[in-house]
């Protein structure tokens, strides 16, 4: 056995050595050729960063978070309706839900947002309430619903059929059984994927920049762009990237923990 093992091990270590070698070369090239002074001046300029505070938090980050929560809530409510329609025994409801889901998953979110913000007002003279935030959140919520509907449906179907049967056998109506027995269990199962959707939404609120904004309604990306233009410097991008990460990393970390906990719970 040992005679067989030795050559393999040697070959593996040669592979590793090559990989380390490549790494060293790349890092060395970067260190030698990179213009660190320029990078520092353009991406990490302290006084440009300092000028962004406190507005980057009090306005931009706040708007991003509000927009995310509003879109998510709207999306969740619509998605719940769609998921239940998709399971309906009445065919036209199923068709509608399927059509909706395929349509808005197939379109770029930007197209839907533009449709809500400009298309509908131009076509019908509608005034979408809530300004930038309102238009954007409705658009994004509509898109998010299409994704979340499938997740919720999968969650409902993951709850054993016996649960619905037991509830019905106790005399509960379909709606009562759904609300108090099936959905609470379904949501427990789908918290991780829903949180993922929330993280995606945080990033998608950056699409709101196409709608046009007032100073009070800028979200993070728009805020960074405007700061870049006035400072003629890329540092705002760095600052905003950090703010995004501060919001998203805890959430992705939480998802990983929840998934691990769920895996354990299932024995």
């Amino acid at each position: 056995m040992r005679t067989v093992l030795h050559p393999t091990r040697r070959r593996v270590s040669w592979n590793r050595l090559t990989l380390y070698g490549v790494l060293v070369v790349v890092v060395a090239l970067f260190a030698l050729l990179g213009d660190f002074e320029k990078i520092q001046r353009n991406f990490f300029k302290i006084d440009v960063a300092r000028q962004m505070f406190p507005k980057v938090l009090t306005i931009a980050a706040k708007n991003t978070i509000i927009a995310t929560l509003l879109s998510f809530s709207l999306g969740l409510v619509l998605a719940l309706g769609l998921a239940i329609m998709k399971r309906s025994t009445i065919r036209p409801y199923r068709w509608f839900a399927t059509g909706y889901i395929e349509l808005f998953r197939g379109l770029p979110a930007l197209v839907t947002i533009i449709l809500i913000a400009f298309g509908l007002p131009i076509a019908f003279g509608w005034k979408i309430p809530g300004g930038t935030l309102g238009k954007g959140c409705i658009g994004l919520g509509i898109v998010a619903a299409a994704y979340m509907a499938e997740t919720i449906r999968a969650g409902i179907e993951a709850v054993p059929r016996g649960q619905m049967e037991a509830a019905r056998s106790l005399g509960m109506s379909k709606g009562t059984a759904m609300t108090f027995v099936v959905l609470p269990q379904a949501f427990r199962i789908i918290i991780p994927p829903l949180t993922n959707e929330l993280v995606l939404l945080i990033k998608d609120t950056s699409l709101f920049f196409v709608i046009g904004t007032t100073p009070a309604s800028k979200e993070l990306t728009k805020f960074a762009r405007d700061s870049m233009t006035s400072a003629i410097n890329a540092t705002p991008l760095t600052v905003v990237a950090l703010v995004y990460l501060i919001i998203t990393l805890p959430l992705t970390y939480m998802v990983r923990r929840l998934e691990r906990a769920a895996g354990k719970g299932r024995r």
Partner: protein
């Protein structure tokens, strides 16, 4: 309770696609009677039970519950169901709720009882099945036998006029079967109307007032336990009993 029999079934048929599982069942149960349904797997025993409270939609025939037509599209199925307790092979307790909530939720939502009354009833029923100390536990932390006893208590909380048991001990480890059968025996002695689909021949022999043997979607024979079990009239019954006694 009114004078109509608790359950009256006339010419019941049930098909799943091309497969005809029930092929003309006539069945009646008197108040306070305990009926055990036995028969090989696939004979339609569980389907019959599930048609009684319309968890399965019968293909043809009628099911009368206390004289009211369960199969009538305008029947208040939910109200009729709350008179029929059902116990499942897989217990089907609600895992996201603790034992107390499992016992009170339908009382609150269906019978619209007050919280105090629901808790009071739940506490008493839990006592009857001997699990008062588990009131705050979550179902998955209980043994199978305890879960099934909680499931029985949950059904009893609705003050049902009758109870259906769908192979209540088939998913249990052998040493846990006794405690569930004891609870069922207690219910029978208190005069509960019961239909029990079971493979427990001992229980059937000693507790049942009548045994129904089903095979291939029909009732082959029925009668008092000693007659059906000890002196079966049909060849199919004899074959089944011989196979069961073998193990």
């Amino acid at each position: 309770m009114n004078e109509a029999p608790p359950i009256e079934i006339r010419d019941l048929h049930k098909s799943f696609g091309k497969l005809e599982v029930l092929r003309g069942i006539d069945f009646e149960i008197a108040a306070g009677e305990v009926v055990c349904i036995i028969g090989p797997s696939g004979s339609g025993k569980s389907t019959l039970l599930r048609c009684v409270n319309r968890l399965e939609e019968p293909t043809a025939g009628t099911v009368l519950v206390e004289g009211e037509d369960m199969t009538d599209p305008y029947a208040d199925v939910d109200a009729l169901r709350s008179k029929i307790g059902m116990v499942f092979q897989q217990f089907n307790l609600f895992p996201h709720l603790d034992v107390l909530k499992n016992l009170t939720i339908a009382q609150r939502k269906v019978l619209k009882r007050s919280e105090e009354e629901a808790v009071d009833v739940a506490t008493r029923m839990l006592e009857r099945v001997g699990l008062s100390d588990k009131i705050a536990e979550y179902p998955l932390r209980l043994s199978g036998g305890q879960q099934q006893r909680v499931a029985i208590a949950r059904a009893l909380c609705m003050n049902p006029d009758m109870m259906l048991f769908d192979e209540p001990t088939s998913a249990l480890d052998p040493e846990l079967i006794g405690e569930v059968l004891d609870v069922m025996r207690l219910l029978a002695s208190e005069g509960m109307t019961m239909i029990v689909v079971t493979h427990e021949m001992g229980f059937a022999q000693h507790v049942a007032d009548r045994i129904v043997f089903m095979d291939e979607g029909v009732i082959v024979e029925q009668g008092p336990p000693e007659r059906v079990l000890l002196d079966p009239q049909h060849e199919r019954t004899r074959l089944f009993l011989r196979a069961v006694k073998h193990d």
